[in-house]
């Protein structure tokens, strides 16, 4: 098993290296960052200074090796637009994005668990239908649109919640819900179907046969087992939130990585872009790795041949 874990870690490292390389290629294709910073008021020589500063005057393979070398030391270079180390920017911005992701996940679970369970228990009833529509609505609207509409309703018309920014707990509600709404449909569907599977299974029939009240059967026996795939799925959804946060943060002026990334693209600030993509990518890969290893640790039945 240790061998398997070692192998899995090696695979993850390979994945990380692959991401780093992809990011390197991508950021070199975005265009000469020297151009954007010297745009308003500069000439050719300024472009050269900038290129030299960024090491763009070196051959590509040299740039690549230097990039990898720095990456190993967690040095992502300095932002081109303000000279701040990228690591600092990421560390400053990451908590906001992660908390938002967590809040979104809580929202998604809080809505989809009851709706999914009810939908499975009362199949094809009004509740099932409402649950579906609620969830599908979130999946069917452009997130920026639903976000703006929520701001207008809850912050301007009803004045219940702050419209933007990260402040007290109230400020998490709108962006968290907007982000979570998008994955609710998938979750409701998942809860509903795994719940249905469990409800049809033998041991639920057995529990019923024992004469247990229906609420106990559903709450204790069925739900606990139906949750399994939902929780695994939730870990993966966290990765999806990283992606969705780019748009939602922009709408809610959320001080996370997403807003930093968008501004960096506009400024061709490629050290920052590299950093953000690497962080998002590694996060996803690490979650996968973590889930796999934990499964291996606790479930000896899984075979590890590769």
């Amino acid at each position: 098993m240790l061998k398997y874990i070692g192998f899995r870690i090696f695979q993850a490292l390979l994945g990380l290296w692959f991401i780093a390389t992809l990011v390197f290629i991508l950021s070199r294709s975005i265009g000469d960052p020297a151009e954007v910073f010297t745009a308003r008021n500069s000439g050719v020589d300024a472009r050269e200074i900038m290129a030299a500063k960024l090491g763009l005057d070196r051959p590509v393979h040299e740039q690549y090796l230097k990039f990898l070398g720095q990456l190993v030391r967690l040095d992502l270079g300095d932002s081109v637009s303000n000279g701040i180390p990228v690591t600092q920017i990421l560390v400053e911005r990451m908590p906001a994005t992660f908390t938002l992701g967590l809040v979104a996940l809580i929202f998604a679970l809080a809505f989809s668990l009851p709706l999914g369970v009810l939908g499975a228990v009362y199949r094809d009833s009004a509740i099932d239908w409402i649950a579906k529509v609620m969830a599908f609505l979130g999946q069917s609207m452009p997130p920026f649109w639903s976000g703006i509409m929520l701001i207008i309703l809850f912050a301007v018309v009803w004045e219940m919640l702050p419209p933007a920014g990260k402040g007290g707990w109230q400020s998490y509600i709108l962006p968290g819900f907007t982000l979570g709404w998008g994955v609710m449909a998938g979750m409701v569907r998942l809860v509903r179907s795994s719940m249905m599977d469990v409800l049809d299974s033998d041991y639920v029939a057995m529990a019923r046969a024992k004469g247990l009240p229906e609420a106990v059967v559903i709450g204790k026996h069925a739900l606990r087992n139906a949750l399994l795939p939902v929780l695994t799925y939730s870990s993966l959804v966290l990765g999806a939130f990283m992606n969705g946060s780019v748009v939602v943060e922009q709408v809610f002026a959320w001080p996370g990585i997403g807003t930093a990334a968008v501004q960096s693209v506009v400024r061709r600030d490629f050290p920052v872009i590299q950093g953000v993509v690497i962080v998002f990518g590694s996060f996803f890969i690490l979650i996968n790795l973590f889930v796999d290893i934990m499964y291996a640790v606790i479930d000896p039945r899984i075979k590890y041949t590769n």
Binding site: I30, Q139, S140, P142, R189, V247, Q250, F284
Partner: protein, 299 residues
């Protein structure tokens, strides 16, 4: 169930059986989503003859004209006009083609490649599979919107660049799921028999495995159309979607959001179109899955 027998049947009769069972199944299609999708398909196909006006003709004197039920609205522009005086209704009708064809192209390109990779990866196994899985994992790990943002900035904003950058992500999703299916189909008897009698690998993939994973592909493709329409709108919001003046729905919502309160019709109707389309596609896809592929309810 109909499709359990289908899977063990030989490929030729599988196609025939699908046709027969398809006819009985058609009677149970969800009516509203199907109707919506049919209307959209008609718009996409025959939009230029249905739309009352040109979707791009600028008429500055007639900008921000409200829908017909407002006092200032005119029957000439039933759903009003946008900031450049273009007819919203015409743009919606013509936009069906832009939005749907974008998704179609991405699915054809990305899905095609993804299915091929998934089949090969799942069938070959071993080192080939391991390498491909790493590649797929990496692509799935990349933040789609951000990478698209960078890419479109680099190559310029165009219909083609949006298709090009979204395709790899779709390919990865297809590849992962098709691979899983292939793994299970590979173990079936008819594949083993085909191997024994010396059928070449490509023939096995094409004749024996592909037909059996086809259901999954169709379901996935249906669900992805909606997903892609939304993704395009997010890209438009960030300024890197389909370029103006093409009447893509996502672009219309994103471009019109400055007038959300002053001229609601500019964003409301394309927003509703997206909603209706994505909702219908999802419901239809759900139904398809339940009918064709009950084992994968969690797709």
């Amino acid at each position: 169930m109909a499709n359990t027998t289908m899977q063990v049947a030989s490929p030729a009769s599988a196609w025939a059986m699908r046709l027969r069972s398809g006819l009985t199944v058609m009677r149970r299609v969800p009516k509203i989503p199907t109707a919506v999708l049919l209307i959209l398909l008609i718009f996409a196909g025959f939009g230029q003859w249905i739309a009352p006006h040109s979707p791009v003709a600028v008429d500055m004197g007639n900008s921000f004209s409200p829908p017909v039920w407002h006092a200032e609205g005119t029957a000439n522009n039933l759903l009003g006009t946008d900031k450049l005086g273009r007819d919203i209704l015409s743009r919606l009708i013509r936009g069906a083609r832009v939005s749907l064809s974008l998704s179609m192209f991405v699915i054809a390109l990305g899905g095609g490649v993804g299915v091929a990779l998934g089949l090969i990866s799942g069938y070959a196994g071993g080192k080939v599979d391991a390498v491909m899985q790493r590649g797929i994992e990496v692509i799935l790990a990349m933040p789609t919107i951000l990478v698209a943002l960078v890419f479109v900035f680099a190559v310029g904003r165009s219909f083609e660049s949006v298709i090009l950058i979204l395709s790899p992500f779709l390919a990865a999703r297809f590849a992962r799921i098709v691979r899983g299916e292939t793994l299970s189909v590979r173990e079936r008897d008819f594949v083993a028999i085909a191997k024994v009698i010396g059928t070449p690998a490509w023939m096995i993939l094409l004749r024996h495995i592909l037909p059996n994973v086809f259901n999954t592909i169709i379901v996935l493709a249906t669900l992805e159309v909606g997903h892609l329409i939304l993704l395009e709108s997010s890209l438009s919001f960030l300024g890197v979607g389909v370029p103006p003046p093409q009447p893509a729905w996502g672009l219309m919502v994103a471009d019109g959001r400055e007038f959300l309160t002053s001229a609601y019709w500019i964003t409301l109707f394309p927003g509703l179109c997206i909603l209706a389309a994505v909702l219908s596609l999802n419901l239809f896809g759900d139904w398809l899955r339940d009918t064709l592929d009950p084992r994968r309810r969690q797709l």
